[in-house]
Amino acid sequence: MRTVIFRTIAPYLSALMVLYSIFVLLRGHNEPGGGFIGGLIAASALAIFGIACGVASVRRAIIVHPMSLAGFGLFIGAAAGVISLFTAQPFMTSQWWPVNLFGVEIKLSTPLIFDIGVYLVVVGAISSIALALEERESD
């Protein structure tokens, strides 16, 4: 598996895939995509990076333990639902805050935060499993 070509290309490929996964995540509300798919893409990116360059480099690259990513994702997913309670609406009622940035209207919202949470949970959970499995193989 570890050919020179693969090892050279893998970091760039992974970086592009992660970038693409974020693109997919953010466009999800209007076009095909969303947190779940984005998370899966990012998880595959990390898996590829791990197979090519070793698990240790992946762990260095993402800084925190992937399970912490999943935990954080779950936390902000739940927190996004709590926000509506402060406006005396039921749990998880979506809140919208359109922001005008450089003349483009960007709709920030609790579903977006929630979707980011989904993304993090999927990336975190799947790559913890994949990395833990790869680790033994590369030992």
Binding site: N30, P32, I51, F91, M92, S109, S128, I129, A130, R136
Partner: protein, 795 residues
């Protein structure tokens, strides 16, 4: 008389200890053991609050206060203040004040002292809630809270196995009894339609007249007898002496163990005065009294001697409550008050001796009176009260209870005999605990004994002196405390007139008292021989409920592990086969039996490239089946999955296709990793029979799911949901991708649940992989162990 409604201060008084439990660790960090002084203010203020009820309650007043808790279920947080609950609330808060002080001195310098205060306050709040609870569910919740906090307190010294065992034992016995009580409460609510104790007491004959009296009686008794350590459930109480002494003094003498007695007294107007009540209660109570005192004589540990006499005293209280005879009930109330005072004091004395002398083995103690004069004085006062000698409250209690047993309708003679023997043995123990360590030649103790600090002797001194004062003002005691409490028991307002000395010198109680004292003195002089005799008899029996408890627990554990082994054999293949057979059965059997099979479909019309993708999917499957190695099979499975993804794309489900594509990629990667990880041989070596079996199962599951889907699609399609989502996705949720809007907005809570499952599943898999690593690297294998440590660091 309907109870008057009062303001919510009383509710706050019940909740105050819970607030104190939060503050206690912080204060303890700041002031160390001196935090006991400010903390003791909390129960002291509660005491003052309830002292305000003494006067209105003594003229027959009853009070209620309530706030809605779960109104849809009729559950209120409500209190009912009458004579009985006032007496208990005063005992809990009054003794609690000194227990907090005592705990400050007893656990001085203990690293977890703050936590200990916290637990004590939690217990205090639970106990107050229990004795004041008006709503039956409130009462039950606080009842169980006392079991749980008692578990925490007994197991406070959780590093010792004996503590842990005692804590679990107490929790199992009292918590189990609590479940019986819950069943009883539900029955009571169903039979009477009332949830408030005050309403129940207002119409006392409803339960007795219903056909449900017997089950309610048994269930309530189950709760009360376990909590109040009645034979044969008494064994948890002596074991609970593993707890630090402040706990024993508070929970296991003055308050928690009396919760059962409280319940019986509270329920007396509703459940009492029946033939069943007057047979069962005296029987169990009398046996407990005798067993408790006999076992107490056998002990040499001060705390254990006191613990067994507590069991005995609880038996005496249950016996007297079971008489339904007013004079005996009066004796019960008096004895309840006297016992809380002298037993609390004696426990604290025992703890102080242990703390200062380093042992509480009565055979190793002696001559402490000059070293610990204040403790000695308190021990004497409390010991005399326990012995039932004048001029102490214990004496009055004993006189009245002899009145009660002597005049007991029917079985008076038996009850009197039991009471005399029990009281004589009680006197023996009182003398052994209060006199033996202080008199005689001074013995060598592990620590050089001297008087403890004021925090340690404040409690015993005050409690024993109160026992004396209450006896010196008998009329006031009777009017303010005993009369109102008795009124709660008999259900009508009753006033009594107490005297320190009986009116007639030659009367049955006085004669019985004299016999008791004489018998007690004789037995005390023969204590060592008596102890050896009882020890010999117990060794000969060799089995007790305590051992029985261990056997029962061992039995439960072995049965459950046998069931676990049966259900979870640990073989993945078995699980998979069972799961898939069940799945196939679940979809196929109803379809075949209930005639839900789909009609034969018409051949659909598809374009050439659609057909070619179908073909790719089938080819992928064929490749899986004929693959030589497992890795090839896994990759071939991927071919089939990708083909399905393209089919989704062709039929207008880009999101689904996208996800399917990623899932397939990752499944192939992870399956391949798992395969290398498990060191499976590259080839499949199953016999052809095994392949046939798994093949059949696979085909039936596939056929089942396929047929079900066909049957579903042949039904007319209900567009209600699709129309709703199409209409509102963009207008109210501002998203054009309906799938994603459903996921993150319309059905967001479902998704929240799903991502929680994903995260948890990830955690579990991670843990499983780690377990495997550990087994592969046995401890002691140095190079490997260090490697696994390194990989853990990396994680």
């Amino acid at each position: 008389m309907t109870p008057a409604v009062i303001d919510d201060t009383t509710l706050l008084a019940v909740l105050a200890p819970f607030a104190a439990a939060v503050v206690a660790p912080i204060l303890t960090r700041w002031f160390k053991h001196n935090a006991a002084w400010p903390l003791a203010l909390v129960p002291a203020l509660i005491f003052v609050h309830f002292a305000g009820f003494i006067s209105p309650v003594s003229i027959g007043g009853t009070f209620v206060a309530a706030v809605a808790w779960a109104p849809s279920y009729g559950v209120n947080f409500s209190v009912y203040v009458d004579g009985l609950s006032t007496l208990f609330a005063l005992l809990i808060s009054g003794i609690g004040t000194f227990i907090i002080l005592y705990a400050g001195g007893y656990l001085k310098g203990h690293p977890q002292q703050g936590r200990f205060f916290s637990f004590l306050f939690l217990f205090m709040g639970a106990m107050l809630g229990l004795v004041l609870g008006n709503n039956l569910f409130t009462l039950f919740i606080f009842w169980e809270l006392t079991s749980i906090t008692s578990f925490l307190l007994i197991g406070f010294d959780h590093l010792r196995a004996a503590s842990r065992r005692a804590a679990i034992q107490a929790l199992v016995v009292t918590g189990g009894g609590g479940l019986l009580l819950l069943a009883g409460i539900i029955l009571i609510i169903n039979v009477t339609g009332q949830m408030e104790m005050s309403a129940l007491l207002a119409s006392p004959d409803v339960i007795k007249d219903s056909g449900w009296y017997l089950p309610i009686f048994i269930l309530v008794l189950g709760g009360a007898f376990t909590k109040s350590a009645q034979f044969p459930f008494h064994f948890w109480l002596p074991n609970a002496m593993e707890a630090p002494t402040p706990v024993s003094a508070f929970l296991h003498s003055a308050t928690m163990v009396k919760a059962g007695v409280y319940l019986l007294m509270r329920m007396h107007p509703v459940l009492g005065e029946t033939a069943l009540w007057t047979t069962v209660l005296p029987l169990f109570g009398g046996v407990t009294l005798l067993v408790g005192t006999i076992l107490a004589v056998r002990q040499t540990d001060l705390k254990l001697m006191l613990a067994y006499t507590t069991v005995a005293s609880l038996g005496l209280l249950v016996m007297l409550t079971g008489s339904s005879y007013e004079k005996a009930l009066e004796g019960a109330v008096l004895y309840l008050l006297a016992h809380s005072l002298f037993k609390g004091a004696l426990f604290m004395v025992a703890g102080t001796i242990d703390h200062e002398a380093g042992t509480r083995d009565v055979t190793k103690l002696g001559g402490l009176r000059s070293a610990m004069p204040i403790t000695f004085a308190a021990a004497c006062l409390a010991g005399l009260s326990m012995s039932g000698l004048p001029p102490f409250i214990g004496f009055i209690a004993k006189e009245i209870l002899y009145y009660g047993t002597w005049g007991w309708p029917g079985t008076g003679l038996v009850m009197t005999g039991v009471a005399v023997v029990g009281n004589a043995l009680m006197l023996v123990i009182a003398a052994a605990v209060a006199i033996k360590p202080f008199f005689g030649p001074k013995t060598d103790t592990p620590k050089h004994a001297h008087e403890g600090p004021v925090l340690l002797y404040a409690g015993p001194v005050v409690l024993s002196v109160v026992g004396l004062i209450l006896a010196l003002i008998p009329h006031t005691t009777g009017v303010l405390f005993i009369g109102p409490t008795l009124s709660s028991l008999v259900g009508t307002f009753t006033q009594i007139d107490l005297h320190l000395l009986p009116a007639k010198i030659i009367s049955p109680p006085v004669i019985l008292s004299t016999i008791t004292v004489a018998l007690g003195v004789v037995l005390f002089l023969q204590l060592d021989r008596l102890r050896a005799m009882i020890a010999g008899a117990l060794t000969a029996i060799g089995w007790g409920p305590d051992k029985g408890f261990d056997q029962a627990i061992a039995g439960i554990v072995s049965v459950s592990s046998a069931i676990t082994r049966l259900v979870q054999g640990g073989k993945m293949q078995t699980y998979m086969v069972l799961t898939f057979v069940a799945a196939a059965g679940a979809v196929l059997v109803p379809a075949i039996v209930g005639g839900g099979l789909p009609a034969v479909p018409q051949m659909p019309v598809h374009t050439f490239y659609e057909w070619s993708i179908f073909l790719v999917a089938v080819l992928g499957l064929v490749a899986v089946l004929i693959a030589k190695t497992r890795l090839t099979a896994i990759v071939s499975l991927g071919i089939q999955g990708f083909a399905v993804a393209i089919i989704f794309l062709l039929f207008g489900a880009p999101d689904l296709a996208f996800t399917q594509l990623m899932v397939e990629t990752l499944s192939v990667v992870i399956l391949a990793l798992v395969m290398t990880r498990l060191n499976l041989s590259p080839r499949d070596h199953r016999s052809s029979t095994a392949s046939m079996v798994t093949g059949t199962i696979a085909l039936s599951v596939g056929a089942g799911i396929g047929l079900t889907l066909m049957a579903i699609t042949q039904q007319p399609f209900d567009r209600a949901l699709s129309d709703f989502f199409t209409e509102y996705s963009n207008s109210i949720a501002y998203g054009r991708n309906i799938v994603n809007v459903i996921l993150v907005d319309f059905r967001g809570i479902d998704t929240l649940g799903e991502i929680a499952v994903v995260a948890l599943a990830g955690l579990c898999v991670l843990a499983l992989i780690r377990v495997h690593t550990k087994q592969a690297d046995p401890i002691g294998d140095r190079p490997k162990a260090s490697k696994s440590a390194k990989s853990k660091e990396a994680v």
